[in-house]
Subunit: 319 residues, 2 copies
């Protein structure tokens, strides 16, 4: 029995270790459950049922390991998105860092509003305003330099409510379900409206998801030779909007097979959830636990940085 429990511990991997700083008996009992943070409800039962059905050889719903695919929205689903998306915090910090080189920003919108710290006015930013901020903070450098800038910022980042780096504000239930699905042979993907190259910087240490399994919005990159070496220059121009219908398109483009399970919390995830469940009775869809976590929050919601193209997310709609 202990051996079995130990095996389960291994199965849920890092999550179980996180939950058991001291290997107490209660921790061992908890480790029998691959989803200890989940309420005993319909969502948890459906996840366990789907995994059981898709991994039982000979069953009608069996899926070979190579085809087991799970997709996760990020903002509001796997990590905190209030009071602003993590990537919006990055853009604003970066803007402040670059401001001394751009004295003209003090008198130019939308930069003035950001530098003045006028959060109320920022909540009313249009997509165009956000894209102007993206243009000066996410473009005009090589892909390698951008990754370095993000990597340097992450440990210094601070969510205004929780006062901790964004990479520490990840939902434990979602880490558990990612780990559980991987232990069951599923390949886990982030499918985010946020920036693909932004998320890729931390996806492995934070979610255990490698760069090639991060699907997101992207700007145009251009191949150029600089000092005899090729670089990819980031241009301030949207290439792919991985949101709403773009999430279904992106899944097909990057993966080329239909997932069996999808997790999302906002209207931008609707098509991804529809696409996942449309092809096969085995597929299941779940709202992320973030819905519950965020209920009651009346704080302003940021907007996704890349995309939306006129379809605004109203404050709180993803909470």
């Amino acid at each position: 029995m202990v051996a079995f429990r130990m095996k389960r511990l291994v199965r849920v991997g890092a999550v179980a270790l996180l939950l058991t700083p001291f290997l107490s008996l209660s921790a061992l009992a908890e480790a029998d459950d691959p989803l200890p943070s989940w309420n005993e409800g319909a969502a948890k039962a459906a996840i366990l049922d789907l995994v059981s059905k898709t991994t039982t050889e000979g069953g009608r719903d069996y899926v070979v390991p190579a085809d087991r695919t799970a997709v996760f929205d990020q903002d509001g689903t796997t990590w905190v998105s209030h009071p602003l998306y993590g990537q919006a915090l990055f853009a604003l910090d970066r803007l402040a860092e670059l401001a001394p080189e751009h004295p003209e920003w003090k008198d130019t919108e939308p930069f003035k509003t950001v530098l003045d710290g006028d959060h109320e006015a920022m909540a009313k930013f249009t997509e165009k305003d956000w894209f102007e901020i993206v243009a000066v903070t996410h473009a005009g450098m090589t892909s390698t330099d951008f990754a370095k800038i993000v990597a340097d910022w992450l440990p210094k980042s601070k969510n205004p409510i929780f006062k901790r780096p964004v990479t520490e504000l990840v939902y434990q239930p979602m880490i558990e379900v990612m780990d559980y699905l991987r232990a069951s042979g599923f390949r886990t993907y982030i499918v985010t409206g946020g920036g693909q190259d932004f998320v890729r910087v931390y996806s492995k240490p934070v979610y255990g998801i490698p760069t090639e399994q991060v699907i997101g919005s992207s700007i145009v990159t251009k191949y150029e030779m600089v000092d005899g070496k090729p670089v990819l220059m980031r241009d301030p121009k949207l290439f792919f909007n991985d949101d709403f219908d773009g999430k279904a398109v992106g899944i097909n483009l990057f993966i080329g097979k239909r997932p069996q399970i999808a997790f999302g919390n906002s209207d931008g995830d609707k098509e991804m959830l529809q696409w996942t469940t449309a092809g096969d009775e085995r597929a299941a869809r779940f709202p992320g636990p973030a819905r519950r976590c965020q209920e009651g929050s009346r704080l302003r919601s940021g907007r996704r940085l890349a995309g939306h193209q006129g379809r605004d997310v109203q404050p709180g709609t993803d909470g």
Copy 2:
């Protein structure tokens, strides 16, 4: 010694089995060599050296398995591209199949030339001509229907020179090196100027490469509801041109990490080879064995169906 040889047999997998219909002693000796079809030359030595260096723990050039990445061009590198690319053969067959529904094609270019079987005139097709053919053969249906059309065509396909299905005209040395790299912990990718959704139909049975590791050119797909079910409709509009500089951009977009080894045979692979070797002394690049196979061929070369955008591949430039 026999045990060791057997282990090697397992290591090179299907290739070794293909080479040894009867498990003769000479076959066993051959199986000691993971690349038995390769000449003993600089290219083979460099591949063996790169694999040895990147997989030796503690070495300066060690790469963790999760980051081991190998990229392969397709046409002329992993399979035959003469007298026309496999996808061009598909487009022409498909055009003939659809012709009865389009009597107007008999008098409209470029369809007339194709239906007349005028290969000489076809060799002079512009990119615009080819894209008109792509538009009626590759678009206007759902992604699911397109995959089915390709899957139905493949066993009926016939290369005009070799009189065999295109999926049987794969270069044995490249199958060996793909298998060897995978056995050494590398993830193998096709990075093709050809159509991503076309190659994905057969990449797994032919190359052992799953859909999510096929990077190619693509047309726009649109999310639509048909009879209450979501579909992805294929539009006759180029979305991504995975050729020339697009191959480096595509590798970054789809994988997000730099490969250690790249294989290509034509000018459309130059940037992929540059990008692979630019970042790291460990990276190696090789022309595909196709160069030798095709030398002496004076047959017309097809052009890639998607892309090139004005940069023509002259007959024979990839041979």
